[in-house]
């Protein structure tokens, strides 16, 4: 009877006496017959029993859950089962890795543009400063009739 008062779902389905130390009883309660039915259909009660016996007690609940998950997947998709989900996820990972690589390349491009802009910024300032000086210089030239700067004329006189 396992831990309960009625035979576990496994023993009920297999129509056998549910012993006190039944290996299935802790994981297949009588109120959830479908859980055992699907692992029995896919793996077989004998194989499930052997797999559980080979594991320490603390790992058995996870093993049962993963077997139920696998069996459900095989029931839904009799051709690919869990492998269909793995293939789908692997494709998703590949697609995301490509999208991430493209995004990272775009970020790198932006960063290089910013670096180039910040590197040329002082030069631009200097160029603008030079340009202002040219304006000033041209403005100075308005003082002479022939367009040559007066300052240069003075210099030529002093030289």
């Amino acid at each position: 009877m396992g831990a309960g008062s009625s035979p576990c779902a496994s023993c009920k389905l297999l129509r056998r006496r549910c012993a006190k130390d039944c290996i299935f009883a802790p994981y297949f309660p009588p109120d959830d017959p479908y859980k055992f039915a699907i692992v029995h259909k896919i793996f077989g009660a004998s194989n499930v029993s052997k797999m559980l016996q080979e594991l320490p007690l603390d790992q058995r609940p996870d093993a049962v859950n993963s077997m139920v998950y696998e069996a459900s997947a095989r029931m839904r998709d009799p051709v690919y089962g869990c492998v269909g989900a793995i293939t789908f996820l692997q494709n998703q990972v590949s697609r995301l890795e490509m999208q991430l690589a493209a995004a990272q390349a775009e970020i790198l491009s932006f960063q290089m543009q910013q670096q180039a802009a910040s590197a040329s910024f002082p030069m631009t300032q200097m160029n603008q400063y030079d340009q202002n000086l040219v304006f000033l210089s041209n403005a100075d030239s308005f003082n002479s009739v022939d367009g040559s700067p007066e300052v240069e004329d003075y210099c030529s006189l002093w030289s």
Copy 2:
């Protein structure tokens, strides 16, 4: 004997006569005994046979391959089997989705910076143009002793 001259790997392991229409023979050749041994250990020959019988002929090769894959995964990881790979891949997808979201947010930030810069560019040009005019205007003022532009003086005379 299936398609070959010797019993298939399944019939050899199960020690039975390999009939001409053996359901295992096309997928479990005698030179690869391990392939059947693992699906037999995990699913059981009877379940594999039933699962194949429920599928059309053209889907059976894929079904066998996915069962071999699942059985191998369960042999390697008796607790989680294929579900371990699914959990790993799901975590990888979540991590990649987060990284992609962060990268896309960074790209959006760069794009907004660029838009802001291009929107302010004409204003910057105009400001610089104005600045040059100021220089010119200041340069003109050099012509007068008191610093007021001569042009303005003429205008005031003509008005």
